[in-house]
Symmetry: D2
Subunit: 145 residues, 4 copies
């Protein structure tokens, strides 16, 4: 990944403030753990109330945090006062999302004035190791506030 | 859509029992409202604790119910004792998910012994009308229990 | 599908003229067979020089005609002098692409000033019947000439 | 990417022989330039007869070579006598495919007995530099011959 130069020096506070306004993050326990130009990390605890029928985190909940990580990675490179919207994403599920926590990583692959393409990953941590559980390819759009 | 013939006459109770074991459905308030051969509907209330930064339902939460609708649509056509797993999906977001409730519709496009392809939609109901908010294309796999 | 109202009454000649400038269509033998508001059909002969290792039309060639059908379906609803570009697509392959000809159908699911979402299908005709071989979900963008 | 151990020591000759049976490769001028465990590279000349309306390589033709690169990357890790089929892929288009040649790179992200997930890229070379033109995420399946 190239080193990206943010258009807005306050990119981190814009991302943190937007993340805080996402009520769903409180509901599922998602926490923002890294905000860098073109890259954002979000952590999610593996909680029983977020599981599907086999006791793993539901694919849609994993998607929720990887989507946010990708969207905010795109937002780090957008000038004020633009906001970010998800146009679409595609996710492959590679392993069961179980263990202690999920780490979602979003990275910008190709920034653009209107359209930004991102790549996302989710990793399950547990038992001293980690395993990739999901891979996302996403398209984000910059929208005026 | 062709009329599908379920391999297992008890397809509905298998789907309902699996849906009930998904803890996440209680957490977000998702309800199973239709189970037919090759087609499943799930309803989600528009609740403040499921929103993103603009006050709409988060894309990942909409995805959660459309994924479940598609997965269970696939399961209606699978013989006992097979279970369904999501290999991957792709979702386009068409309009803000707001209003009173979201209806997720999952339909089988192509059933298969191993791989089943589904098509999903989410509709937002409010103010007396409805609007499509998401379109999914998903690949499901049959897995031995 | 709702009935769409084209912004440009000359939509058909714009689509036909753009299709004619696509050299690849001559190379693979693709023919434009229907241009309606929000819907375009393209035919492809099943030719030996377009096949993969099992003798079926290569997935990428099927994709080529479904992509064009979706892109031109989007273009039918765009005002002059906008042109259409493919941002991304996702394709599921449902059955081998063999027989006598492939019919690619592109339809607009959600038109937009900037972003248009389309749905595409490919059908293989042969032996008096037809079978769906591919399903596409695509995102198109309007670009100034 | 981890170092993968091929199940079949003759993986390269199986890939080369399958690639040679793909007639479409002769038609478009695609050449296999690297076959390693879990990674395959294919080159395509930028030829006028493969272009869309703006004179760039058509998205579907770029897709054709990235799909083959991903499929054969998956095949390098499959045991004899399995063959590979594309279940589905998603491609984002990042820049115009123009210049002198296109290099398609396919890599295995997650190998599996039945399902293998791959990641693909296409790069356009020209004027002494290179630019990424496409990013693919693909799902391949192992099929008995």
């Amino acid at each position: 990944m190239p080193g990206y130069e943010p258009a807005d020096p306050n990119f981190e506070s814009r991302v943190r403030s937007s993340f805080d306004r996402q009520e769903v993050n409180r509901t599922i326990g998602a926490r923002l753990v890294k905000v860098a130009p073109g890259e954002v990390h979000i952590e999610l605890p593996v909680r029983h109330d977020l599981t599907q029928q086999h006791g793993y985190i539901h694919a849609g909940i994993t998607t929720t945090v990887v989507d946010s990580a990708c969207g905010y990675a795109a937002l780090t490179l957008m000038p004020e006062p633009m906001e970010v919207l998800t146009i679409e994403y595609k996710v492959n599920f590679l392993s069961p999302a179980r263990g202690e926590k999920i780490l979602a990583i979003g990275k910008v692959v190709k920034p653009g004035r209107t359209v930004t393409v991102c790549s996302g990953e989710a990793w399950a941590y547990g038992g001293g190791g980690r395993k990739q559980v999901a891979a996302m390819q996403a398209t984000m759009i910059a929208a005026g506030r």
